[in-house]
């Protein structure tokens, strides 16, 4: 993975010094909260429901054991002994003090971490495929491109006061494990005539008005990627709406202009930007890519897995994925214990995962947008030892992609933007469906819950989605069906009137019962829904 050179260190250190000074000026009253707010947001610091919340960047979801241990240290020293992994592969701490923020950023900088641009109207964390470098289906590792984009977007002087936030994802496989089509810019590295290039999808997003990003350019030569991105951003910075915060994302601009006109403007700007010489030379890409070289895995490692422990076998079947190198596997660690808080991990659990990564996974971990953790390079012969350690720490729930593997935003328990609590709903659903046999019978069922219209829980992209709303002062939950954030991307359809907390759990049970009645061989829930439509489900829910 990428290691900072002297320049990267200097930039992060300068940012820490800058923000430390801004905090000092705020505490001394030299700047108002209104002036300070965009500055602290650009350093990942929110003022939230219970305290300040700090969102630490995990660039394209990749980190090593040293960094993971620092995240545990921060939880223990400055917070309440746990962290929350997010739908953009980052981690959040909910009980941060402003006066501690400079020290926290210094601690992070000591292990090449930061909270730069994890909030604010700027380019956010570049996300990627959590199985990059390990999955057999990728045409290349997308993360060197994500790193190149990260550096290009960091402290970008022209794009730090955009109309709204800007999220970029980069993948390199046809299977979309990063919800790429639902980003402001989604890039897929593709192959054409023996060459690699970048397909640019621009204008996706969730929130109030969810949209799937249209294809703007099917093949941007890789040497032009940054210039093309710059052109996309400049058109947005100049023409994105600034009159209405709910219409300020690039998806609205593209929707209003039309994809063809947006493309035309970008092409014109690109021709001009390309002449500026902002694209780094291949040598810079090669320098970065060399740090993502495949780890030294022994392809002759034993392929057999001893399945005699039945609990271990169940976990292998559900949570362990195929690695491109024989004798190895991708371990998916569920942060969704039944009845637990989705995405949360205690400092002890974070330390344990760091230890396992160091010992068994080439010292590397990934954070997924589904709020789980991945050990990407584990020898099959070590899986049992890994599982035992995870199991002892409550991290071995064998529910990857099952109905209890819920994506949930923090909701009204933590977030000042929320209209309803999301975590208790997630807990009730997971408890209702806790029987593993029942879950496996239902199969792949991606359930996503947002506590407000901002859709941080990605509910529009849920096979089953739940949106918490405020209905005359009471929490109410709208149900939607048929969304997907994968390569079969689609936006969910609302079923009808909403429910209270217990009502929505009952409604989901009626939906899943209907699915089991209706499905044909091999059909996932979302496939059945797409085949038969809403009507039978609506009938089942409402009678």
């Amino acid at each position: 993975m990428y290691k900072y050179d002297e320049y990267d260190h200097a930039m992060v250190d300068a940012r820490v010094a800058e923000f430390s000074d801004q905090v000092r000026r705020r505490l001394a009253g030299e700047i108002t909260e209104d002036q300070f707010k965009p500055l602290r947001l650009m350093n990942g610091l929110y003022l939230q429901l219970h305290a300040y919340m700090l969102r630490v960047a995990v660039p394209y979801g990749t980190l090593d054991s040293r960094q993971m241990r620092m995240l545990a240290h921060i939880a223990r020293k400055y917070d309440r002994d746990y962290g929350h992994f997010t739908t953009r592969q980052n981690i959040q701490y909910n009980w941060i003090k402003l006066e501690d923020a400079p020290a926290i950023l210094q601690d992070l900088a000591s292990v090449e971490m930061h909270a730069i641009q994890t909030s604010g109207n700027c380019i956010r964390n570049i996300s990627s495929d959590q199985w990059a470098g390990a999955a057999a289906d990728e045409i290349t590792d997308p993360r060197p491109w994500a790193e190149l984009l990260r550096q290009w977007s960091s402290f970008h002087p022209e794009f730090s006061y955009l109309p709204r936030k800007f999220k970029i994802a980069v993948i390199a496989a046809n299977e979309d494990r990063a919800a790429m089509r639902l980003h402001d810019i989604g890039i897929q590295i593709v192959e054409k005539d023996g060459q690699h290039g970048a397909a640019f999808y621009v204008g996706g997003g969730m929130g109030r008005t969810p949209m799937i990003a249209p294809l703007i350019k099917d093949f941007v030569p890789l040497d032009d990627m940054l210039s093309y991105a710059e052109a996309c951003l400049r058109v947005y910075n100049r023409y994105g709406r600034r009159d209405n915060i709910y219409k300020a994302r690039i998806k609205i601009l593209i929707h209003e202009l039309g994809a063809d006109e947006y493309r035309r403007q970008v092409e014109e700007e690109f021709k001009h930007v390309k002449s500026l010489g902002i694209d780094p030379p291949k040598a810079e890409f090669d320098r970065i890519a060399a740090q993502f070289a495949p780890p030294p895995l022994d392809a002759a490692a034993p392929d057999a897995i001893d399945r005699s422990d039945p609990d271990f076998a169940v976990w292998v079947d559900q949570n362990v994925a195929k690695h491109k190198v024989p004798g190895h596997a991708i371990v998916n660690i569920s942060l969704k214990p039944v009845g637990g808080i989705p995405g949360d991990a205690s400092s002890a659990q974070i330390d344990l995962m760091a230890d396992l990564a160091e010992k068994y996974s080439q010292d590397e971990l990934r954070v997924t947008h589904a709020q789980n953790i991945v050990l990407p390079h584990v020898r099959k012969a070590d899986l049992y030892a890994v599982w035992q350690a995870l199991d002892a720490a409550g991290l071995a729930t064998p529910n990857l992609d099952l109905i209890s593997d819920i994506i949930a935003c923090p909701g009204l328990d933590y977030c000042s933007l929320a209209n309803a609590r999301s975590i208790p709903v997630a807990q009730k659903i997971a408890t209702r469906f806790s029987d593993l046999g029942r879950q496996k019978e239902l199969g792949e069922l991606k359930l996503k819950i947002s506590g407000c219209i901002n859709a941080c829980g990605h509910h529009h992209a849920g096979h089953i989605g739940i949106l918490g709303v405020d209905r005359k002062g009471t929490e109410n939950y709208q149900l939607s069906l048929g969304g997907s954030g994968a390569e079969d991307v689609s936006l969910g359809t609302i079923t009808g009137p909403g429910f209270d907390e217990d009502g929505v759990v009952d409604a989901i049970e009626r939906v899943t019962d209907k699915y089991l009645e209706t499905r044909t061989e091999g059909e996932r829930f979302v496939d059945t829904f797409r085949r038969v439509g809403m009507a039978p489900f609506k009938e089942a829910i409402y009678g």
């Binding site: 800058e18 955009l162 500026l276």
Partner: protein
């Protein structure tokens, strides 16, 4: 290089519309929603382009500034309005060389802001050599 501008004795910057219909103005003011490229045919007539920042959150002026420098404008490029010390460094990178903040800035803070960044990741309008070029020459 960084000045707090006072308007006494200075030729007023006319609006874009007025400039485009006048033949002798040498200073123009660009609002956030106006197209900087409208000035490109006339850059050699201009000694001053003032780019308005009515609200510091509205970042359109950063693009306007870069576009003007990229087109070869070498005159004075001034950021006017809700300009806070925390935006100065990025503004300078985008090509601004003077600043007319509504609320006067502390000059020590300005010096600190301009000295903050040792290097820069990306090329912009200030001629700074980006880090990728320092790495490879």
């Amino acid at each position: 290089m960084v000045e707090h501008i006072h308007s006494d004795g200075e030729e007023p910057a006319v609006t874009l519309d007025a400039f485009l219909s006048q033949s002798n103005a040498t200073a123009v003011r660009l609002e956030p929603d106006e197209d900087a490229r409208a000035l490109i045919p006339h850059l050699d007539r201009l000694a001053l382009i003032e780019v308005a920042f009515p609200k510091f959150r509205d970042g359109r002026g950063y693009s306007s500034a870069r576009i003007l420098r990229e087109a070869g404008y070498v005159g004075e490029l001034r950021a006017q309005g809700d300009v806070l010390v925390d935006q100065i460094a990025y503004m300078k990178r985008c090509g601004f060389d003077t600043f007319a903040p509504e609320k006067e800035l502390n000059s020590a803070d300005v010096e600190a802001a301009l000295a903050r960044w040792p290097e820069h990741y990306q090329g912009a309008a200030d001629g700074a050599v980006p880090i990728w070029k320092l790495r490879h020459g």
